[in-house]
Symmetry: C2
Subunit: 467 residues, 2 copies
């Protein structure tokens, strides 16, 4: 902090203002004060898995139009080369790197998910965290702790606001993701609790992102914007910019303005004993997590019951009404829109055996065999089916009926992706960009990140060799 001593502000920024509500105070104090060494080992292992997954999705999507447009604009605007754009030879100022890497990591809809609230916390967390860790020369251990504690803050606020905030039409990754990113950024800037409170206030009043953007390039922008805003809020607070004391719980603060109901006790209940990161899911399929249980059902139909597309007269997919709403695009025009059509996702998964990024191509949504199978899939909203489950009832042309239930989709906490599965997903995404040798080196570095003095080696391994 010495080179960025707060200036021009009233009062002591290290201590938390006495007007901050109790729950906010407790959570922010915890997130800013807990020594990295006191974060439990098994929590840090989850953060490490999150890093590998993040590098996979970000490197894999580095050349996608959304990420490329943002990157090229940042180059036109210029800035000190503080942090790398993963998977490219470009270096940008830290908030720009956070923006571009955040867009890239979300563009495939393949990043991890806090299952109870559908918050994609890791994208804003590592998009912001890696950029600041690189710029400020922080250790791997400090980066992991920043992720773990940022995840805790983002997820706990999400739980407190869910489902009302989400039902209003907010995209959690854009809104509470900003708080997650600001927390991780504040950790890496080593902000004192009072300063961290201001960072989180400046972040709260920038929280944004409407669900209308689902299916558009702008959905990924939300994730990048959350990362960028989190970095910016922490950097402003570091220099002494101050927010209203009770920016979250105040009468006109984030919670009251952006949700019709908030259960503030969720901010602190079991804090330090129960970690939200254990409710994180890592995606096997490159689309919204709510589509995963139905995709699993058709894959089970194909693999365990030998059902082929031509065998199907009709499949009734019974899903929670929210799932039907979120993935109800009936006529996807592009691969991206296909991610919001559960009928397309199930059809392609049955035909090709999985639903990774390459399955969601523009060509595939227009294929005749896909369209034909989609026309035989009915999505039935079923309030009695929780959103993490799904039922498929297949009527076959031979007269048989096969019913498949999925209670815990692949990649969820109850049906975890193993470290080996995760590695396979990583290589699927990264090998085409960096080559298998360098991808393996990058993976090895991630598994040892807790012993790295800086993140420089990881960053070097995440950009094309020779650049």
């Amino acid at each position: 902090m010495s080179e960025h001593a707060p200036t021009g502000t009233a009062g002591d920024q290290d201590a938390i203002d006495d007007r901050v509500s109790a729950q906010t105070r407790e959570l922010v104090t915890f997130a800013s004060s807990l020594p990295a060494a006191d974060v439990p080992e098994r929590v840090l292992h989850e953060s490490k898995r999150g890093l590998l997954d993040h590098l996979g999705v970000a490197v894999g999507a580095a050349q996608e139009p959304a990420a490329r447009i943002a990157r090229e604009l940042a180059e036109e605007l210029g800035g000190h080369p503080q942090a790398a754009v993963l998977g490219t030879s470009t270096r940008l100022r830290a908030p720009d790197a956070a923006l571009v890497n955040g867009i890239a990591a979300h563009v495939f809809d393949f990043d991890d998910t806090h299952i109870p609230t559908i918050l994609h916390a890791t994208t804003p967390l590592y998009a912001s965290g890696l950029a600041l860790a690189e710029w400020r020369g922080r250790s791997g251990a400090e980066l992991l702790a920043a992720h773990a504690l940022g995840y805790e803050v983002g997820a706990r606020v999400s739980v407190a606001l869910y489902p009302e905030h989400y039902d209003t039409g907010w995209h959690m990754t854009g809104t509470t993701g900003t708080l997650a990113a600001a927390t991780a950024s504040g950790r890496l800037l080593r902000l004192a609790p009072g300063t961290m409170t201001h960072a989180l206030g400046i972040a709260a009043t920038q929280a944004a992102g409407h669900r209308e953007q689902f299916g558009a390039m702008t959905k990924s922008f939300h994730a990048g914007h959350a990362a960028e805003s989190g970095v910016g809020a922490a950097l402003l607070a570091e220099r002494g910019y101050v927010a209203a004391p009770d920016s979250w719980q105040g009468r006109r603060g984030m919670f009251a303005v952006m949700s019709t109901r908030t259960t503030v006790e969720d901010l602190v209940d079991g804090l330090g004993e129960r970690w939200e990161i254990f409710r994180n899911g890592i995606k096997p399929y490159a689309c919204g997590v709510v589509s995963h249980p139905p995709i699993d059902t058709v894959r089970v139909l194909a693999r365990e019951h030998g059902v082929r597309p031509d065998d199907v007269r009709r499949i009734e997919l019974r899903v929670h009404p929210l799932v039907a709403e979120l993935t109800g695009k009936t006529e996807p025009r592009t691969g991206l829109e296909g991610k919001f059509s559960v009928r397309f996702a199930c059809a392609i998964a049955m035909i090709e055996g999985t639903a990774r990024e390459r399955q969601f191509s523009d060509a595939n949504v227009h294929r005749e065999d896909v369209r034909a199978l989609m026309s035989r899939i009915d999505v039935v909203p079923a309030p009695d089916v929780p959103h993490e489950k799904a039922v498929a009832v297949a009527e076959l042309v031979d007269g048989r009926t096969v019913e498949v239930r999925v209670d815990a989709a692949t990649g969820t906490p109850e049906n975890r992706l193993s470290d080996a599965d995760l590695s396979e997903k990583f290589h699927d995404l990264v090998d085409p960009v960096l080559g298998q040798t360098q991808a393996s080196r990058l993976e090895d570095l991630v598994w040892a990140v807790d012993r790295a003095e800086t993140v420089d080696d990881i960053v070097a391994a995440a950009v094309p060799a020779g650049s």
Copy 2:
């Protein structure tokens, strides 16, 4: 556009997507297609007055902590020197200049106001517009038209959302101000209607800013952030970044998410015949516009009725309940907080004769004579008093009672600040920074801006000589 041809997007960006709702389509088409030469002369004169007022408040506040912190952070991050920070020798990349100038122009709470909705449109409009006009070499006439049309979009959306959006706790300048800035930015980038629609979609999903921040540094941040986001959204759209088609009126779009009611007909009613800029107010006092009618009442008491502070036993201020709520800070600790205390503002205005920036000092809020007078002022919420009016009933120590009514506060459309009054306000703010000679030169250039081929001379005159 040729150097920034859209790439990597589906479909034709010049035309507006057929899924855009009718009112949005009509307003965006108007704002992006109307030739600058077709904006009525008297509208452009208001935009010119707005430019003079903007330069005054921005230059005058260039060294305020909020603006200085943001400027120094931008310097640390670096970038191409595309646009000037008004009143300083610093040049930043265009979005950063928009951020810093937007913060500066709002930090005194002295910038102009769309009276029906309390939107401070001009700050995000010129903070974004000047930066882009300078960078891209646009003419003064093009800048004025960008302001006029951006004002129209920002104000019409505000009218459509008011008061529900505001009552929810949103700060209009942060939210609809972002749309205003994106419109002005899109005009200066000469975006076609389809591309402008995307710019306004990317802007809408970033709209942010909670009223909890009133009284904190972060309130000014909202205005700067709106400017920065507007510039960024337009630059992304220029390069082909696309938003959801119906980002405003869609089921989960900005209007539905951020307001409980929207009167969409206000977006287009009388479009091109009736201009919202004629409902703009220019502030004579350096605080929120809702405090102006009560300040006028005590100034009338003092000037027209000869009432001195010691004569007062009690003053009952009858104001709209919203005014009482917004300016109800009973124990201001700083000059900034004093702007949100109508009792302080009225006390100091009665004692010093006015309530310009220098009256809202930290020292003044602690003065004994001020505190004593404040304790004799009662604020009474009166639902029958509209927020643009106020009544003061003064009981004097000699037993007399004097009642003063203000129906149209100084600076409102019904009681306009003359061009001469505006000039006086401008010099009060700018002379201490630039010196009187240069301030006069800057003023002359503004009155002739419609004939300027670029804004370079204005920018040069708005930064300290020799820098």
